[in-house]
């Protein structure tokens, strides 16, 4: 069996490793457009945060590790066309067009930050750095800049705003919604972060949409907003990512949003063609609703699922909870499941409660603000958000597990978590304690 995988980032590599594990005899070939493989997207943040010494360390896997697994790879290889009937992949490697046949094909081409709406988003002052090469260029450009404007207040944009403002850059952050990180948090939960952003000197422009970026003299750029404009040395594009799938043939069906339609086994409409990672929509929330959730954890898990189903439908994908965790502006923030704001898109009646909980039994204990979102009638947990000055990130995984296994609020109180006065309050944080803390919402538990 010859398995060709297009794209050697998280999804593609995970799929390759899993195919190898399950099919010792399979020939596994990874095709990668970039000159390197296994680069950690946005590895530049690790560098800026002094967690790595150079971008060369921002790799989650090495070529050597793949070779040991007998996974072949071809770098600098751009796929031009797929013929799903002939089972052929036409690609360009170093300017030469080649053809490769396959028995099974996995599409894992990922996504990139691109905007068709913002005029001038490809101009010279605009940087993005999801890939290694882009990051090298961006590093130098930003180093030479005093003013940096960031378009998009998602996870990447907020992390960059924090890191760059700590480097004494004049940072402007532009977000089209009324608050940052809106996909993961409800408005009131993110207020401490926004306050800290202001304190740290970030010029936060909410409810603003960028229409155009114009290059100006002396290497600066003018960013056109609705009625205002901003001048900056560098513009960092951290808008939503999107896949580029122009190489597909007509047998592979797409969703309205131009992502590839797959079933729960990651199978596309073309025989023996799978799609994973940032190329597809995933089931999210109740009623198996579909959403586009380009996160690394989804990429890896869909990679494993596709590999497990490569010969026959075997393991369905269990869905995404859009679980994230990061540290920005002095706060550890994490989220999983649906937010209260987006529950308006569902037919469910959702209730929520917000509580500030002490993290241990000591007098100087730090606290965490938790928001619980649950179904009003069944009281099953649907979403959770954490904001704290202490590292509570790992706790979100317990809550994610609780959502995935459909625990009710009452179930959570009964979960057998350890007690230690130095590390826990009367109950564990994720036990959902109902006394000795301030309840901020009118909802009662």
């Amino acid at each position: 069996m010859k398995v060709v995988i297009i794209g050697a980032s998280y999804a593609g590599v995970a799929a390759a490793l899993e195919v190898r594990k399950q099919h010792k005899d399979a020939e596994v070939i990874l095709l990668e457009k970039q000159p390197t493989l296994g680069y950690i997207p946005n590895g530049l943040h690790l560098y800026w945060n002094d967690q790595i010494r150079s971008l060369d360390e921002a790799y989650f896997i090495t070529e050597k590790q793949l070779k040991v697994q007998q996974i072949h790879f071809q770098l600098n290889t751009t796929v031009k066309k797929i013929h799903s009937v002939l089972k052929e992949v036409i690609y360009d490697q170093n300017g030469i067009e080649e053809k490769l046949t396959y028995d099974k094909l996995i599409i894992a081409t990922g996504s990139s930050q691109l905007s068709q709406k913002i005029i001038g988003s490809d101009s010279e002052q605009v940087v993005r750095y999801k890939r290694h090469e882009e990051a090298e260029a961006a590093l130098a450009t930003i180093k030479a800049s005093k003013r940096v404007a960031i378009i998009g207040g998602g996870q990447v944009g907020i992390e960059a705003a924090d890191l760059l403002s700590r480097q004494q850059k004049q940072v402007t952050l532009i977000e089209s919604m009324n608050y940052v990180l809106f996909k993961y948090f409800d408005e009131e939960m993110i207020q401490p972060v926004q306050r800290k952003m202001n304190e740290q000197g970030v010029d936060l422009r909410l409810n603003e949409t960028v229409s155009a970026i114009q290059s100006e003299a002396e290497q600066s750029a003018v960013i056109q907003l609705g009625t205002d404009s901003i001048t900056s040395d560098t513009v960092l594009l951290s808008v939503n990512v999107r896949p580029d799938l122009h190489f597909l043939d007509e047998h592979i069906q797409l969703h309205m949003d131009q992502t590839i339609a797959v079933d729960e086994y990651m199978r596309t409409s073309a025989k023996d063609v799978f799609a994973i990672g940032d190329c597809i929509q995933l089931t999210f929330g109740e009623d198996s609703e579909m959403a586009y959730i380009p996160l690394v954890n989804n990429a890896v898990r869909t990679g494993i699922v596709a590999a497990s189903n490569i010969e026959r439908a075997n393991i369905p994908f269990k869905g995404s909870l859009r679980t994230i965790g990061t540290f920005v502006f002095g706060y550890y923030i994490a989220s999983t499941g649906i937010t209260e704001a987006e529950s308006l898109f569902t037919s469910q009646t959702v209730k929520s409660v917000r509580q500030e909980v002490r993290l241990n039994s000591l007098s100087n204990s730090e606290t965490v603000m938790i928001k619980w979102i649950y179904d009003e009638s069944s009281r099953v947990l649907l979403g959770a958000q954490l904001v704290s000055k202490t590292d509570i990130l790992e706790k979100i995984n317990i809550l994610a597990l609780a959502i995935q296994t459909k625990q009710t609020l009452e179930d959570l109180q009964q979960k057998d978590f350890f007690f230690h006065p130095a590390y826990t309050s009367l109950l564990s944080t994720t036990n959902l304690s109902t006394w000795l803390h301030e309840e901020e919402d009118e909802d009662e538990i």
Partner: protein, 489 residues
């Protein structure tokens, strides 16, 4: 634009035959029909044959017979002219063409000629004809697609699927869970509740919008210009947040203008209930163009009728309806004339007992001038909005009418008195807002009709007295109507 514009000449004649028969009680002489259609005998015979062939699908539910003298229409109780129109439209090439355009968004000539099974030249002719009528929408079919402002394109499709094509064509396969969720989301985000009929409308709009959202090269020049005073509008802000959040769940880079499209739609079509609209009216910017015009027109109406004070709920109702009219005029161009304009107009005049037509025209003139919009007489939008003004004025006059009590006090022999009383009652019954009876001594009236100047009016109290010049004369009746109007305001 009218529904006939989707039909061919002979089809329009056939439809007219049905309509004439319905209007004349089901039967019309052959010669009268010839005269009405202004065609030759051969042509009418052809039409009748063609009709006979066409209505076979109705399996006897509708029949047209001709006995050499009279043409007679027979319809079953479930049959209606609408159904017959629908049959003609369903066979119309132009309707199919629009359907195809909606579905595929882009076409090649080869594709279309194959799909519609017509020649190149007749396709070009049909496109040319359609473009003539689409002009008032300021859109056109060109280079294999529908071109123009996105708002106008969606609006046209909305009217097309609302009034021309069978709604089911749009809803089938497309009305899915995603659409009903989007409609639910509108209610949730805007904190409003939408009636089921309006939900249906919103559903159609959402289907059209979903279908159009990913199409390329959308144009919003006029919309952006008109939206300038509304960028901070509280309803627009809510819609904007909803739209951005909705599309953030997909890999779609949505246009900022997508929210503007929904804003214009929600306010121009009666989607919100009156109480929900009222909540919005309380917080909207009163100096923005639509709100300003709403107020101006309400005041103009009050002054015109010399009302001292309107009922609170009536005033709210006026704002509700006027705001739809004005939003339509402010954002949209063109319309499909759903109601037979002239006929309805005639009915209204009969109904109200006086002509509100000229006043409504004045209001429309004011509105179009204030908004500086296209005032081409053939623009169906203006015709339809005029009709809405008239309807609104009718509602207002109905509701504001106080009943004028009229007593008839004729001085003549009892036998004549009885007869003439009855005849006068009959003549005046259609005058709105009156209660007429033979004079009864001791009862208070607003108006007394008599045939002799009374020597002493005391016993009539405060009532106005009108002396008839010639009983039952049109002259008197006109004067009496004027008097009643004066008493009413």
């Amino acid at each position: 634009m009218k529904f006939e514009h989707f039909l061919e000449k002979n089809e329009i004649r056939e439809v007219t035959i049905f309509k004439q028969l319905v209007l004349s009680g089901g039967t019309l002489t052959y010669s009268a029909m010839l005269e009405h259609l202004n065609v030759t005998k051969a042509s009418l015979d052809n039409d009748l044959d063609s009709i006979a062939a066409r209505i076979q699908v109705f399996k006897g539910e509708v029949e047209i017979s001709y006995d050499g003298n009279q043409i007679t229409l027979i319809m079953s109780d479930e049959m209606s002219l609408q159904k017959i129109y629908r049959l003609y439209l369903s066979q119309s090439i132009k309707v199919q063409l629009i359907n195809f355009l909606f579905k595929h968004q882009e076409f090649s000539i080869l594709q279309l000629t194959q799909e519609l099974a017509i020649s190149d030249s007749s396709l070009f002719r049909k496109i040319k004809e359609l473009n003539k009528y689409l002009k008032e929408f300021e859109i056109k079919i060109r280079n294999g697609r529908l071109q123009g402002e996105e708002l106008q394109i969606r609006y046209f499709y909305f009217q097309f699927y609302g009034y021309i094509e069978d709604k089911n064509v749009l809803m089938a396969n497309r009305a899915n869970k995603q659409i009903s969720q989007a409609v639910q989301a509108v209610e949730n985000f805007l904190q409003v509740s939408i009636d089921s009929e309006n939900k249906q409308r919103l559903n159609q709009w959402m289907i059209i919008s979903k279908h159009r959202v990913t199409s390329k090269n959308k144009k919003y020049v006029y919309l952006r210009k008109q939206m300038k005073p509304y960028l901070k509008d509280p309803l627009y802000q809510k819609i904007r947040i909803m739209v951005l959040r909705y599309f953030s769940r997909y890999s779609i880079e949505v246009d900022e203008e997508e929210a503007m499209l929904h804003f214009a739609f929600l306010l121009a079509f009666p989607i919100l209930t009156e109480p929900d609209f009222h909540e919005y009216a309380l917080i909207r910017d009163r100096r923005a163009p639509i709100a300003t015009l709403d107020t101006y027109i309400v005041e103009t109406i009050i002054i015109h009728f010399k009302y001292r004070k309107l009922h609170y709920m009536l005033e709210r109702d006026m704002f509700y309806h006027l705001s739809h009219i004005h939003t339509r005029l402010y954002f949209f161009q063109g319309d499909i004339e759903v109601y037979e304009y002239e006929e309805l107009m005639a009915k209204e005049q009969e109904f109200t007992g006086r002509s509100l037509y000229s006043f409504a025209q004045r209001l429309l003139k004011t509105s179009t001038e204030k908004f500086e919009v296209n005032t081409d007489e053939n623009n169906s939008l203006l015709k339809m909005e005029l009709l809405k003004y008239i309807s609104l004025l009718t509602i207002v006059t109905f509701k504001m009418t106080t009943v004028v009590e009229i007593g008839i006090d004729l001085r003549m022999d009892q036998i004549y008195k009885e007869t003439l009383n009855q005849l006068l009652l009959l003549k005046m019954r259609h005058i709105n807002g009156t209660k007429i009876e033979g004079y009864r001594a001791g009862k208070a009236y607003d108006l007394i009709l008599t045939n002799e100047q009374p020597a002493d009016q005391k016993h009539y109290g405060d009532a106005k007295v009108y002396v008839l010049s010639e009983i039952l004369s049109p002259f008197d009746l006109q004067n009496i109507q004027t008097l009643i109007q004066e008493l009413n305001t």
